[in-house]
C-alpha cells in the first residue's frame, strides 16, 4: 500500500471538499435572480453590477447572483446554460456580443424563464424585454456639442476634430461614431483631422494621442468614445502643455471618484454624455415580472442620454452613486 499517496489524497480531498461543504443556499429567499454580465472588468459594467446589487439588497426576498463572462462568448453561453438548469425566477443578460448569445437566450425563454436583455441587442428577439440606451442619440449630441463649442470659439462652425474610437465592430462604437458624423458632415468647415482606435482603454488613448499631437499642430476638439479614452488623450496633451489649446469630450458619465462626471467637475473634460446604466429600469421591470404574472412589459425600453457640462456636473456627481 502506498501510504504516502493515500495520505496526500485524503488531505487533498478534504481540502477540496471544504467549498462544497459550505452552507447551502438559504431557503428563506423567495426569488432567485440570475445576472449574466459580459465583462466585470469594464468600469461601466462594474457600475452596473454595483447598482444592481444595491437595488436588490433593498428587497429582502430576492437572492441575486452575478456571473462574469470575462468578455468571452463561450464562457457566457456556458454560464447561461448553468443558470437555465437552476431555473431562476428572472434572468438578466448583458450579452457580450449579438450573434453568439442569441441562441442560448432563446433556450432560456423556451425553458419558461423571463429574460431581460440589458443594453446590448441580440440578433433575434429572444427576450421578454430589451432595455437599451440610445448610442446613436449620444453620437448626435456629441456632434452637436462639437459644432456649438466651435461656434463659440471662432464665431462660425469651423475647426479641427480628433476622434478616439473604441473597439471596432462593437455597436456602441459604431453608433457613437455614426451619430457624430451624421451631424458633422453638415458643416464643411469642421474637419475630422485624425481618427485613432484605442479599444476603450485610457492607456491606449494616451499613446495614440501622443502620436496625433506630433502629427497635428492644431486641434480644437478631441472626442473620445468613452471617458477614459478622453482622459487618456488629455494626459498626452498635458505632457506637452497643449491641453489648454483644445477641449476634450467623453461618453458614459459614470459617477464616483473615478468616473467621467468627476472629470468634468475637475475641468479635465469639457463635457460627457451620461449613458444610462439601464439597471434601475431592469430591476423595476424585473420586480413586476416576478410579482405579477399578468404583467406584460413593452418589448423594448429606450433610455435617453443626458449632456453633462460644468453647469450641471456637480449636481450630477452628487446624484449618481455609481
Amino acid at each position: 500500500m502506498n501510504w504516502k499517496f493515500v495520505s496526500r489524497a485524503l488531505l487533498a480531498t478534504t481540502i477540496l471538499c471544504l467549498p462544497a461543504c459550505r452552507e447551502r443556499q438559504p431557503a428563506a429567499k423567495k426569488y432567485f435572480v440570475a445576472f449574466s454580465q459580459c465583462n466585470n472588468a469594464e468600469p461601466y459594467r462594474a457600475a452596473q453590477n454595483q447598482l444592481m446589487q444595491a437595488l436588490f439588497n433593498q428587497k429582502p426576498d430576492v437572492q441575486l447572483v452575478i456571473a462574469d463572462a470575462q468578455q468571452d462568448n463561450s464562457k457566457q453561453i456556458a454560464q447561461i446554460e448553468t443558470f437555465i438548469r437552476q431555473k431562476p425566477d428572472l434572468l438578466i443578460v448583458a450579452p457580450n456580443e449579438r450573434a453568439p448569445l442569441t441562441e442560448v437566450m432563446g433556450r432560456a425563454m423556451a425553458a419558461g424563464i423571463p429574460v431581460i436583455c440589458l443594453e446590448r441587442d441580440i440578433t433575434q428577439p429572444n427576450y421578454t424585454t430589451f432595455i437599451s440606451a440610445d448610442n446613436l442619440a449620444i453620437g448626435k449630441m456629441a456632434g452637436q456639442f462639437i459644432v456649438d463649442s466651435l461656434n463659440h470659439k471662432y464665431g462660425k462652425p469651423q475647426g479641427k476634430v480628433v476622434e478616439i474610437r473604441g473597439l471596432l465592430g462593437v455597436e456602441a462604437e459604431m453608433e457613437r461614431y455614426r451619430g457624430a458624423h451624421d451631424v458633422l458632415k453638415g458643416y464643411a468647415g469642421i474637419k475630422v483631422v485624425h481618427e485613432a482606435v484605442a479599444d476603450w482603454l485610457q492607456s491606449n488613448a494616451r499613446e495614440r494621442m501622443s502620436e496625433i499631437l506630433r502629427a497635428q499642430p492644431e486641434i480644437d476638439v478631441v472626442y473620445g468614445h468613452n471617458d477614459p479614452m478622453a482622459v487618456g488623450a488629455y494626459l498626452a496633451a498635458h505632457d506637452l502643455n497643449r491641453e489648454k489649446q483644445m477641449i476634450f469630450i467623453g461618453v458614459d458619465g459614470l459617477g464616483g471618484p473615478a468616473g467621467g462626471v468627476k472629470k468634468v467637475v475637475d475641468g479635465v473634460l469639457a463635457a460627457t454624455f451620461y449613458y444610462p446604466l439601464c439597471v434601475d429600469k431592469a430591476v423595476e421591470i424585473g420586480e413586476q415580472l416576478m410579482h405579477d404574472p399578468s404583467f406584460h412589459p413593452e418589448k423594448q425600453y429606450i433610455l435617453q442620454p443626458e449632456l453633462i457640462t460644468a453647469d450641471n456636473a456637480t449636481q450630477m456627481y452628487q446624484k449618481l452613486t455609481f
Binding site: 496526500r8 467549498p19 438548469r85
Partner: protein, 349 residues
C-alpha cells in the same frame, strides 16, 4: 503509422526505463491512470454531494441535459488538449493553439460569408472547413519545422506564432467579428449543423479514442514518448526525431483548427479576438491528467480525465453560484493538488 520498429528500439539498455517498463510491465501507466481516474471520482463525489436540487427533487448535476452541457463545454479545450498531450510528451509546449483557434474560426466564417461559392452547400461547407483545417495544420507545420529543424526552443517559437497568428486573424477580418446568422444561408446551415451536441461531443469522443490509440498502440506513439523521455538516447537509437516532432506540432495545429471550426459554429461567429488563454487551460488539463511537463510520460486518457475534472468542477461551482473569483482560486488549487498527488506516487514507486 506503418514505420517498422528499428531494431535498436527493442534494446532496453539504450532508453530510460520509464516507457520501456510501461511497455513491458504495464504497471506504470495503469497505475497513474488509475490515480487521475480517482481524482475524477473524487470531484464527481463532491459534485453529487454539493449539487443543488431541482424543483422536481432530483439532483441538477445529474440531469442528462447538464451532463451533456459539461461535455459540450469542455469539447473545444478538450480537443486542443489532445494535441497538447503529444506536444508535451515530446518535451515541448505549444502556446499558439488559442490564437490558431481564433484564426481558424475567422477563416471558416470568412469563406462562408464573404466568398461567393457557387457550390452545393455540403461541398461549400466542406471547402470552408478544409481551408480552416489546412490553415491550422500549416501553422503547426511551421512551428514543427522551426522547433525540430532550426532548433529554436518550443516556448519561443510558439510564443511568436501566438502573437503572429493573432495579428494575422485580426488583419484578415479587419479586426471585426464575422457574424453568422440564423437564416437559410450557407453560413447558417454550417452553424446549425456543427453546433449540435451530438457533433461537438461526438467529435471530441472520436478524436480522443483515435488519438489514444495512436499514442498507445502505434510505433509513432512510441517514438513520441521516446523523444520526450530521452532525446539523446532516441537519437542514438536512430529514431526519426525531426519528423516525429514536426508531425506532432502539425497535428496539434490541425486539432486547434478543428476546434476553431466548432467554436465558430457554436458561437455563430468567426472571432479574431477569441481563444484567449485557451492554451493555458489545455496545458492545465494535460498536467492534471498526469502528463509530465518534462516529457516522456503521460497518456491521452489521463488528459481526457483532466479535462473532465476541470469541466465538472466548473459546473458544480457555478451550479452553487460560487463567486467567479473563488472559482479561479479553486481551479488553481486543483492544478497544484493534482500534480502534488502524481509526484507522491512517483517518489515511492
Amino acid at each position: 503509422m506503418t514505420d517498422p520498429v528499428p531494431e535498436t528500439l527493442n534494446q532496453p539498455a539504450i532508453t530510460s526505463p520509464t516507457w520501456y517498463s510501461d511497455l513491458l510491465l504495464r504497471r506504470g501507466p495503469l497505475y497513474s491512470r488509475l490515480k487521475s481516474v480517482l481524482g475524477l471520482l473524487a470531484v464527481l463525489l463532491i459534485a453529487l454531494l454539493a449539487s443543488p436540487h431541482s424543483p422536481r427533487g432530483g439532483l441538477i448535476f445529474l440531469e442528462s441535459g447538464n451532463i451533456t452541457d459539461i461535455l459540450r463545454q469542455v469539447s473545444e479545450i478538450g480537443i486542443i488538449s489532445l494535441g497538447m498531450t503529444f506536444v508535451i510528451l515530446t518535451g515541448g509546449i505549444d502556446l499558439s493553439v488559442g490564437t490558431v483557434l481564433a484564426f481558424a474560426s475567422s477563416v471558416v466564417a470568412l469563406v462562408l460569408t464573404r466568398l461567393d461559392l457557387n457550390l452545393p452547400p455540403p461541398v461549400a461547407i466542406a471547402m470552408a472547413m478544409a481551408a480552416a483545417l489546412v490553415g491550422g495544420a500549416l501553422v503547426g507545420l511551421g512551428n514543427g519545422v522551426m522547433i525540430a529543424r532550426w532548433r529554436i526552443q518550443p516556448f519561443i517559437v510558439t510564443l511568436a506564432t501566438m502573437i503572429g497568428m493573432r495579428g494575422l486573424a485580426r488583419w484578415l477580418t479587419s479586426n471585426t467579428n464575422i457574424d453568422i446568422g440564423f437564416g437559410a444561408d450557407l453560413a447558417s446551415i454550417f452553424a446549425g449543423a456543427l453546433s449540435t451536441k451530438i457533433v461537438v461531443i461526438g467529435s471530441y469522443a472520436l478524436l480522443s479514442i483515435a488519438l489514444g490509440t495512436l499514442l498507445s498502440k502505434t510505433v509513432f506513439g512510441r517514438y513520441v514518448r521516446a523523444v520526450g523521455d530521452n532525446e539523446k538516447a532516441a537519437k542514438y537509437a536512430g529514431l526519426p526525431i525531426t519528423r516525429t516532432k514536426i508531425l506532432v506540432y502539425s497535428m496539434t495545429g490541425l486539432l486547434a483548427g478543428y476546434s476553431g471550426i466548432l467554436h465558430a459554429a457554436q458561437n455563430h461567429q468567426g472571432n479574431p479576438n477569441t481563444g484567449v488563454a485557451y492554451e493555458l487551460e489545455a496545458i492545465a488539463a494535460v498536467v492534471i491528467g498526469g502528463t509530465s511537463l518534462m516529457g516522456g510520460s503521460g497518456s491521452v486518457g489521463g488528459t481526457v480525465v483532466g479535462t473532465l475534472i476541470m469541466g465538472v468542477l466548473t459546473n458544480i461551482l457555478r451550479l452553487n453560484n460560487v463567486d467567479n473569483n473563488l472559482e479561479m482560486i479553486a481551479k488553481a488549487a486543483i492544478i497544484v493538488a493534482a500534480v502534488w498527488l502524481q509526484q507522491a506516487g512517483k517518489e515511492s514507486a
